[in-house]
Symmetry: C2
Subunit: 476 residues, 2 copies
Amino acid sequence: MKSFTVATLLKETKLQEIQIKGWVRTFRANRFIALNDGSTLHNIQCVVDFENTDEALLKRITTGAAVSITGELVESQGKGQSVEVTVTKIEILGDSDPETYPIQPKKHSFEFLRENAHLRTRTSTFSAVMRLRSALSFAVHKYFNDNGFYYMHTPIITGSDAEGAGEMFRVSTLDQKNPPLTEDGSVDQTKNFFGKDTNLTVSGQLEAETYAMSLGKVYTFGPTFRAENSNTSRHLSEFWMIEPEVAFMDLAGNMDLAEDFMKSVISYVLEHNADDLEFLDKRLLDEEKTKPQAERSELSLIEKLKFVTENNFKRVSYTEAIDILRNSKPNKKKKFNYIIEEWGADLQSEHERFLVEKHFKCPVILFDYPANIKAFYMRLNEDGKTVRAMDILFPGIGEIVGGSQREERLDVLKEKMAVLDIPEEELWWYLDLRKYGTAVHSGFGLGFERLVMFATGMGNIRDVIPYPRTPQNAEF
Amino acid sequence: MKSFTVATLLKETKLQEIQIKGWVRTFRANRFIALNDGSTLHNIQCVVDFENTDEALLKRITTGAAVSITGELVESQGKGQSVEVTVTKIEILGDSDPETYPIQPKKHSFEFLRENAHLRTRTSTFSAVMRLRSALSFAVHKYFNDNGFYYMHTPIITGSDAEGAGEMFRVSTLDQKNPPLTEDGSVDQTKNFFGKDTNLTVSGQLEAETYAMSLGKVYTFGPTFRAENSNTSRHLSEFWMIEPEVAFMDLAGNMDLAEDFMKSVISYVLEHNADDLEFLDKRLLDEEKTKPQAERSELSLIEKLKFVTENNFKRVSYTEAIDILRNSKPNKKKKFNYIIEEWGADLQSEHERFLVEKHFKCPVILFDYPANIKAFYMRLNEDGKTVRAMDILFPGIGEIVGGSQREERLDVLKEKMAVLDIPEEELWWYLDLRKYGTAVHSGFGLGFERLVMFATGMGNIRDVIPYPRTPQNAEF
C-alpha cells in the first residue's frame, strides 16, 4: 500500500489502495472529509461509510483534526474532482476541539488571522501566499545560479551605520539598566560583545560590492532591518532583501539585468503556481468588489503579472518624467496629493503609478535622478547634478526595485562622503575597492516582501511574511 | 566582437576576436598577464606585445589592476591552458599600486587575509571557498525544492528566549545610557520598539514546526546567533542554519531524509565544482604535510566527500555507542581526553570521530539519546529515559547534523516545560500545535558553516563566511 501526498494523489491515475495523512478542512453530512496536507491548495475528498463507523469516532472528525486514512482511490462521482478516496479505515492522530479551534470553516478577518499567525497557513489564502513566497524565493536563487552569480551571505550584525538608509536596531550584551561607563561618563563599548557599538544591517550592498570586485557577479538574499516607527501596510521592521551586484556592468546593463530578472521570477510562478495564483486572483476580485469603482484595479492579479512579463519596460529619464508629470491632467487639476512643481521633486507612489498605469501603460524604469535625493555611493553623471540611479515602477505598487551604477572614482566618492560627514575610517574597506583595481559596477535592491505582495495581490505586507515584526509587535 | 568571462572563454573553441575584463593576478616577463574575473578558479593567459606597447602603460599592468583587454583568442603555445589571448589593446580601468596593494602574488597567512577580508576573495583559496559556499547554498535550495519542501523565513528578532540553545544578543532601541525605568526601577520595556525585551534568534525550529503542521514539509535557511564568549575555530556569533521540519515523519524518516540530503548536496558540489575542489584538495594536502604524521587526516578532502556520498550511514543507538566506546582501546588506555565511564555521558568530538573513523569507517547516525542531555521538545521514548534524538557524525569533524522527532503529546510536553521552568504563556502558540490536530513530526538542524568547512577542508570557521562575527570582532 502506497503513501501519497494530496498533490500526488490528485494526479494519480491508478485506482488502488492508498494511505494518506493530513488535516480535516471540513466534514460534511457525516460523510465527506475535505482533507488537506499543504502539498497543494486543493483538498482530496475522502468518503466515510458513516453507517459502519463508530459514532464516537465520527464525532472526532472535526475541522483541524489530524487523521490517517486508508482507503481505495476511486473515480469521483461528484463535481470538482476526478478522484476521491473511499475510506476503509480512519485513525485520529490529533483531535481538534471544534469549540475552541480558532480556524473555523468560515471567513476570518486578516487581522484575526495575524493574531493566530501560527495557524493561519491552515487557510487556503495563507497557504497559497506562503507557497508562492517559497516559489518566488526559489525562482530568485535559480535565476542567479543559472546566470553565473554567486550567492553571498552578508553580515547581519554590523559595526557601521554609514549607509544611512534608515534608523537602526542596536545589538548589545551590556547590562541594560546599568551599562558600564567610561571615565568621561559615556557607555563603555569596549565592554560590549564586539568591543564596539553594533547594529542590525539595513543593507548588504556595500559588502556585496567587495565580492563583486573579485568574484564578478554576486547577490545577497537575506534579512534587513529598519527601526522606523512606521505603522503602515507597506513597512516591516524586519524584511528580506535581494541585492545583486555586478562588476564591469554599467547602468544600462543594470536595467537589462533587473528587467530580465523580474520577468524571470514572475514567469516562474505563472508557470509553477497556477492553482495558487488562480485562487488568489479570485480572492482579489472578490475583495475589489467591496471597494468603490474608482478605487478598483483595472487589472486582475494574473493580468498584472502578465503586464510585467509581456511588456517591455519603458526607460525614461527622471527629467523627462518630471515634464510628463508636470503637464499631466491630475497635476494641473491638483488631483495628486503632492503637486509636481519643479525638477528635483521626489516622486511619490501616486506619480509612479500614473506613469505606469495611465501614461505609458507598461512597467517603467526611471533613471538619472537628482543627486541630492539619492545615496552617496551612486555614480555622479557628467552634468554634476544627476546620478546613475534607476527605479523600476510597477502597476498598483509604484517603485519595486531601486538600483544604481556605483561611484567608482576614489576622489569623487571621498568628496561626497566628506559633504555628508561619513567618516572615511568607517568605510576604509569600501574605499579600498576604489584604490585597488576599481572598475565600473552596478547593482540593485528589491524588497522581497514587496515582490510577494505584487505576486499574490495581498494588500498588507504583514500578510506575506510568516511572523511580521512591526512597532510594538514581535509575537511568536 | 564578443565579450566573455574567463570561464566561458576557456571553454571557447572558435578562435576569434574577443573582449574580456578582469583583474591582473600576475604579470610575468613584461609579457604574460594571468587574468581572473572570479567566474572560475582559472586565469586566462593574455600575451602582451611589449615591444609595441607604451612603457608607461606596461608599468600600470600590476597585480590587482582592473583591465579591459581586446585581442585574438589563439591556441596556446605554453603548458597549462589550451587557449590564450594575443592582446591587441589593453586599457587600464583601475590601477593597483604594487607598493601598497595588500594581496601580493605570494602566500599570505589566513590571519592576515581575515584582516583584509574585503580583498581575500581575490586569492585562489578564498574565491574557491566562496564559490563552493554559493554552490552548497544552491544545492540546499534545489534539494528541498525538488522534494516538495517550502522555504520559510522564520523571524530573526524574537520576543521569546525559550529554546535555551545559548546566550542571546539583545535587540533594542532604548537609550543605552539612560534607559527609561518603571516605578519599581526596572527597565521599562513597554517603551522599547517592540513593547518588550527582544533578542536575536538562536533557531527557527519552533516556528518551522508551526508551518510543518499546515504545509507539511518546510525548511528554514537563515542566520542564527549565539552570544557566547567562545573564541574557537569552530564557533561564530552569527552563522547560517538549515532546519527542515516535516509533518507525519518519525525519527527513522528523519534519518532517511538527513542522509539523503547530505549525500545530495555533497554530490552536487562534487559534480559542479570539480576545479575548486581539486584546488582545495591540494591545498589541504600541502597544509597536512606541515603537521606531525599522527595528526594528519587519513583521507584527502575529495576522499572525505566520497566517504559520505558512497557509504551508507550506520545507525547506532546511543546505548550501543557507549558500550563500544567504553570497551574501546583509547578509552581503556586513557587516550581520550574525556574517559567514557557510564551511560549518560555527553559525547565529545573525539568519541564521535573514533566511531566514524576507526570503528565503523563510515558516517554514523547516533539515536535515542538520554533525555537529560537533550532539548525539551524531543519526543520521549516509552522507556521514559531516552528521547528520539539523532546526531549525524562525519569524519574529521564529528557531529554535523542534530535532529529529533518532536514531542507531539500536549501533556508530556507541558510536564517537561514545567520541570525546566519554561513558562507556558511564552510558548502558547507552540502548545497550540499539540492542541489542534497534533501529529508525529520531525526535523533536524545543520550549521551551514560546518558543512562548508567539511566540503572545503578549511580548518577555521572564520574562513568560510564572508565577514565573520566573533567576540570583539564585527569589522566590515
